[in-house]
Amino acid sequence: MIDFYGEALMRMSAAFATIYLVALGHSLFELSGVLDLSIDGVFFLSTGLAVLFSAQLHTSLTTLGVDPLICTTLASVLTGLVTALIGLFLAFILTVLPISHGAVGLSLMFLGYGLGIYAGYPVRLKYGSIAQFAYPENIVVYSLTLLVSLALGLTTYRMLYSTAIGAMIRACGEDPHAASALGVVVYRTRLIACGLGYFMVGVGGSIFTLLWLRYWDIRSYVLGYGWFAYTIALAAGRHPLILIPFAGVFGALLEFNISIQATYGLPVDLAGMIPFIAAIALMTLYGSTKLKRLFEPPRGLGKIYYKEERTI
């Protein structure tokens, strides 16, 4: 039997996994020097896609006797693959062409919102609730999700800080010109980082609707959870391990937003502010410590990489 605390823990681990995966993927993406302003749009798009894929797979595969859990998992993976393609696309054009990372990112954000609605809305209209396509509310599923996201985080950490490919990714983020002189093929390296990064963002987005909220709505795109993950990633210096406590705390904060409000009788809108204020407070806190240097953004983030300029 799952008691109250058990359920709370389950929802918290789902919240953690969502925020962690999205922030982790985003971090990997940006560490390679490509500015990721489409994050909120892509996040919303992946919630819509997850709903679409899951509904499709459930209606077509379960009749063949495939376990519903497998269908939902497949939907998550498929979502990740689609977003990974977007990541590859971004990495390619923003490295090869001398164009503004910001403008492309924000445009894609809007496009992501729009396509997300296109993907999710018909399902929502047809079935009303999407809970039937979500992951089962089962402690094993939640624990597995938690473990898998942590494992992904550890692997990413190992890759970034103990292998040459990790050094290459970070080199591209710091100074692509110098990286190239050192022997990095910048666009190839960014393809790897951005593809993998956006895969995780997509999977995180699918977990958001299919595990954590078990609900999808056209208006979700104004919630700004993608931006929220963006902020968390930044606050944690885009570091896979430091991200863990951050994602934990803020996942919990978002999850318990409602209960905090109920317990202390806070007005809805004031309660809504809490996680956001906490995020700023946290950044301010570490900003006054020695950790600051570790948390500096990549120096080349968002800068146009154009080969014929003098490399300084």
């Binding site: 040459a164 970070r170 080199a171 110098a178 002189a181 022997g183 990095v184 003098r310």
Partner: protein, 512 residues
């Protein structure tokens, strides 16, 4: 071509030209063959196209026309490099004029990148960082250059970064080494070792193309000397059959001996413009790199501080101008209490500053020459009088012989030496009371360096400017200074009068 005594061509450059946006033709119809087992020196004044040529060979720039052929197996085949990785895979390695290390990565990580790129070719997979550290230690032992593989690159000085790049070139075991002003600033001992390394590379059949501004170095090392002037090759000489004067004439044309250094030493006045008392300073790591530093520089005096790379010059000048907070001590500069008042007051008092990292603290490369000058020479607090500023810019460009299309060109389109000239020109024109400079002649060609020395002497002795120069170049310090100090392991020794103390004694003090 048959075998035997004939040396083979390893790299053949045919009709290469490159014009940059804005219409600057950097190099034009270059034809040059490089043979195995030779050291070729590439000389030319600032802006003559040396860096552009080697960057093309390394795949950084794409040539507009012409072709490059490289020896693969037994015959020369045409190559078309899209990026430096392509060049590296063909056995070419470049050590840049400005070090190209990634600041936030450790030395080992920087090197691991290169190794991994090259190894993935023979499928031995990714290189681990710890493996690279081990390799680095070995090479560092065999070359005698001390490196800490785990040190972050941002903690290294300019010259230390260059050692690392040289080590990298040696580790990857290339066939053709392109060295863009990489040896000029090595400390004496290391330089000797590197000369030996280059000889042994040559003897094992490798090819070295060496860019240098020190003509003597070219004569010491090379078999052939190639001279570039305004983007064209104006001479390919056998080193043993030519003279320094011949080379100078080809490099600079008729203007050859326009500048003569006048060594009219005058006694400095009593009044002190720079006073440093019991100064102690930390580096970026928090280590105390300087302690008990006490000295003063009189009005109209030129003081030189010499020390090997990383002995604290950078931290010293930064704290003197107010960019770095000392742990303790007192600094007075042009009447300003530096520790309390900081850089703003120092600058307002009329102090010029040429930093150790010129591209970081000395200039904004994305902005034009005139904009860089405007922010220092505009007295009105709100508006800029562009007429006056432009006049100033034209004057600086002319006086310091900056080669650029116009004063509105972005600084980043200038050659390394010309960027340095803009910095020097603006800081020297700005300095009314004192000039604090780090390695001011670095990257300058001989003529420009001599010009600078004579301007400095004039400013000091006739216009009573007080000058402090921190440098890693012993010749630079000895020719410029009225008084010389040696900085070693954070302590200052001196002053000496350059004419009274033998050069060997100073070299000894530097490394003791």
């Amino acid at each position: 071509m048959n075998t035997g005594t004939l040396r083979r061509v390893v790299l053949s450059i045919n009709n290469i030209s490159k014009t940059f946006p804005g219409g600057i033709t950097a190099i034009e119809e270059i034809n040059l063959d490089l043979y195995e087992g030779e050291i070729v020196a590439l000389l030319g004044e600032n802006g003559s196209g040396k860096s552009t040529l080697v960057k093309i060979l390394y795949g950084v720039y794409t040539p507009d026309s012409g072709e490059i052929k490289i020896l693969t197996g037994d015959k020369l085949s045409r190559v078309n490099f899209g990026n430096p990785v392509d060049a590296m895979k063909h056995g070419i390695i470049l050590v840049n004029q400005t070090p190209q290390l990634i600041d936030k990565l450790s030395v080992a990580e920087n090197i691991a990148i290169t190794l991994s790129t090259l190894r993935s070719r023979d499928h031995s997979g990714f290189t681990s960082i710890s493996e690279t550290s081990k390799l680095l230690k070995e090479v560092s032992e065999s070359t005698g250059i001390r490196v800490d593989p785990n040190e972050k690159a941002y903690n290294l000085t300019y010259s230390q970064k260059q050692f690392i790049e040289l080590l990298r070139a040696i580790i990857v075991n290339a066939k053709i080494f392109l060295l863009d002003e990489a040896l000029s600033y090595l400390p004496i001992a290391e330089k000797k070792r590197f000369y030996d390394i280059l000889y042994s590379l040559k003897n094992s059949g490798k090819t070295v193309l060496l860019i240098t501004h020190k003509i003597q170095e070219a004569f010491d090392l090379s078999d052939r000397i190639v001279i570039l002037r305004k983007g064209r090759i104006v001479g390919v000489l056998e080193t043993k059959n030519t003279t320094v004067d011949e080379v100078r004439r080809l490099m600079f044309g008729e203007t050859n001996n326009k500048y003569i250094i006048n060594n009219n030493w005058s006694n400095p006045e009593e009044e002190h413009v720079i006073e440093v008392e019991d100064l102690a300073v930390r580096d970026d790591h928090g280590r105390e790199v300087l302690s008990n530093i006490t000295f003063c520089v009189g009005k109209g005096e030129i003081a030189g501080i010499i020390g090997v790379a990383g002995s604290g010059q950078r931290e010293l000048v930064e704290s003197i101008v107010g960019l770095r907070k000392p742990i303790r001590g007192k600094i007075t500069l042009a009447g300003v209490d530096v520790v309390r008042k900081g850089i703003k007051a120092v600058r307002e008092a009329g102090v010029g500053y040429i930093p150790d990292q010129p591209l970081k603290q000395g200039i904004a490369c994305d902005n034009s020459i005139v904009e860089n000058i405007a922010i220092m020479f505009s007295s009105n607090p709100i508006l800029i009088n562009w007429d006056i500023v432009k006049e100033k810019a034209v004057e600086i460009v002319k006086n310091y012989n900056v080669q650029s299309k116009s004063i509105d060109s972005p600084v980043k389109t200038l050659s390394g030496g010309n960027i340095m000239k803009v910095i020097i020109g603006k800081e020297l024109s700005y300095a009314k009371q004192a000039l604090i400079a780090c390695n001011p002649t670095r990257a300058l060609d001989e003529l420009s360096a001599n010009n600078l020395v004579s301007v400095l002497k004039y400013k000091a002795h006739a216009e009573k400017l007080s000058v402090l120069i921190a440098s890693e170049d012993i010749d630079e310090v000895l020719t410029i200074s009225d008084a010389v100090y040696v900085l070693n392991s954070g302590r200052l020794i001196g002053p000496f009068q350059p004419s009274k103390v033998p050069r060997e004694r100073i070299e000894e003090l530097m490394v003791a």
